[in-house]
Amino acid sequence: MSSLRWAVADGWTMTRRDLGHWVRQPAPVVVSLLFPILLVLMFGYLLGGAIAVPGGGDYREFLLPGMFVMTMGFGVESTLLAVTTDASRGVTDRFRSIPMSQSAVVVGRCGADMLNSVLVLVVMAACGLAVGWRPHGGVGATLAAFGLLLLLRFAFLWVGIWLGLMVADPSAVTLVQVVVWPVSFLSNIFVSPDTMPGWLGAIATWNPLSATAAATRDLFGNPGLADGWIGVAVAWPLLLVAVFFPLSVRAFRRLSR
């Protein structure tokens, strides 16, 4: 077999290792599915009544695309946790001492996390449909919206891999948990940036999370929103990948220094 085919085969073996985790220890996966649902219910029903929806309409219709984006952001945590757990227990070193395709360590992580994100989005969408969210933009636009969400997740994947290789300590995940929340609130996920003080609103508008949220709202056909964000929602993740993919490769190579 050629080295490329081994890279794919070994990467798939590593992805299947994670799928094995889902079966043997389903609790973390179930929690990662239930937590966003809990947030939808909390914000949709407890706080939503007090929040003015830009362009009018139902708050839950406004909230759901934002929640999709936020769960993609949570993905940094699961990637970081997986990478650091393997590094700290010496499992990464074992893989590196095996005559396998060395890229498979990262490719497998990528496959597993992307599959997990698809699963999370399916469950979130079902939950959204149950609380009154509807995609109004047709099949193509809806699929494009989910494509943008997965692109954002793909970008965060490399942020998580890079951070994980740099810190190599599973307890660092609490730091990411602490950061994810303010970054999520400093966006258009829950409220329109127009309601914030000017400079804060400007930061919130240009948050990569906001770009994807605005673009998906556009594609889902939410009323009364500015369009033109789809390009930004493609550009931001590509920029993140352009920065963090080479950094991750470098960090992986540096393990042997």
């Binding site: 590593m14 070193d93 074992r94 893989f95 590196r96 095996i98 005559p99």
Partner: protein, 312 residues
């Protein structure tokens, strides 16, 4: 040579980890790398197992240069690091099948090999349990099994028994003996002289990044004066009489420690020396508080070696 190392150098920032490290390990033998924390044991194993790149020097494992042919080396080695580097969530069997597939055995062969190894390392009954429910000794044995998937020419074990209880240690020792019995070359690092004593054919003592002494365990011990007998008398006034008696059974002049009322002397025939000393002290009516035979400790090995009394 299964392992051939010439003048290996490695530095981490300001800290020099390896400073001209040399080693030769003959095929089919067990070599123990003995040294305190920070001596460079783990660094040398990581370089030999292709995990780290050296700054200078040359290392060949199973006939291949680790720097220029890492994949060839990886095909011929097994590595068991300081952690039990196995997947905690998966079962023992799933772990071995996973590693088997990554060694490119194919699904069917990986399954067969996993079953063989579980059987061999006494994990057949618990093979389907998640590793997080394993005892420390069981994890280590699974770790060893994972290092044995391809029946490696050279097996590296980095402090294989650190953190294990005596029972777990015995389990691992048995496993290592059985691997060596199959003809694999084993390089193991340890901080414990008794562990080296139990397992190895050849010891290399490492300190500050270089090998400062080498030889078989028996050779090293005889160079260090071997076992010692220690007597603590009740009255400091009896120390002279006791020293007189001890001189007759000892190989050298007994050392006196007045503060602790203790005498210490090297002996060759352990049991005969002990019985004779007890008999003589009893006959002379010297009240004794403690009497014991003692192996040289690793501390003493280092003190002796770094004092320059013994040279490699």
């Amino acid at each position: 040579m299964s392992v051939l190392v010439d003048g290996l150098r490695k530095r981490f920032g300001d800290k020099i980890a390896l400073d001209g490290f040399d080693l030769r390990v003959r095929p089919g033998t067990v070599c123990g790398l003995l040294g305190p924390n920070g001596a460079g044991k783990t660094t040398s194993v990581r370089i030999l197992s292709t995990l780290l790149r050296a700054d200078g020097g040359r290392a060949e494992v199973a006939g291949f240069d680790v720097a220029t042919h890492p994949m060839e080396v990886r095909r011929r080695i097994g590595l068991v690091g300081q952690h039990a580097a196995v997947d905690e969530v998966l079962s023992g069997r799933q772990n071995l099948e996973l590693f088997g597939r990554l060694y490119h055995l194919g699904a069917a062969k990986a399954r067969v090999r996993a079953a063989e190894l579980l059987d061999r390392f006494g994990l057949a009954d618990t093979g389907n349990k998640a590793v997080r429910h394993y005892s420390g000794g069981m994890r280590r044995r699974l770790d060893l099994a994972a290092g044995m998937i391809l029946a490696p020419d050279v097996l590296f074990l980095d402090e294989p028994t650190t953190g294990l209880d005596p029972r777990g240690r015995n389990e691992v020792w048995d496993a290592v003996r059985s691997l060596a019995g199959d003809g694999a070359t084993v390089l193991l690092t340890t901080q414990y002289l008794d562990e080296a004593d139990q397992l190895v054919d050849q010891i290399a003592v490492i300190d500050a990044g270089r090998v400062i002494a080498g030889g078989s365990p028996a050779e090293l011990k005889s160079r260090l004066g071997g076992d010692r007998i220690e007597v603590v008398v009740h009255d400091v006034g009896d120390l002279g009489t006791a020293a007189e008696l001890l001189r007759k059974v000892a190989d050298a002049e007994p050392e006196r420690d007045l503060d602790r009322r203790r005498l210490s002397a090297p002996v060759r025939d352990r049991v005969a020396a002990l019985t004779e000393t007890v008999r003589a002290l009893d006959a002379a009516g010297v009240p004794v508080e403690d009497i014991a035979l003692r192996r040289p400790t690793l501390d003493e090995v280092f003190l002796t070696l770094t004092d320059g009394k013994v040279s490699a």
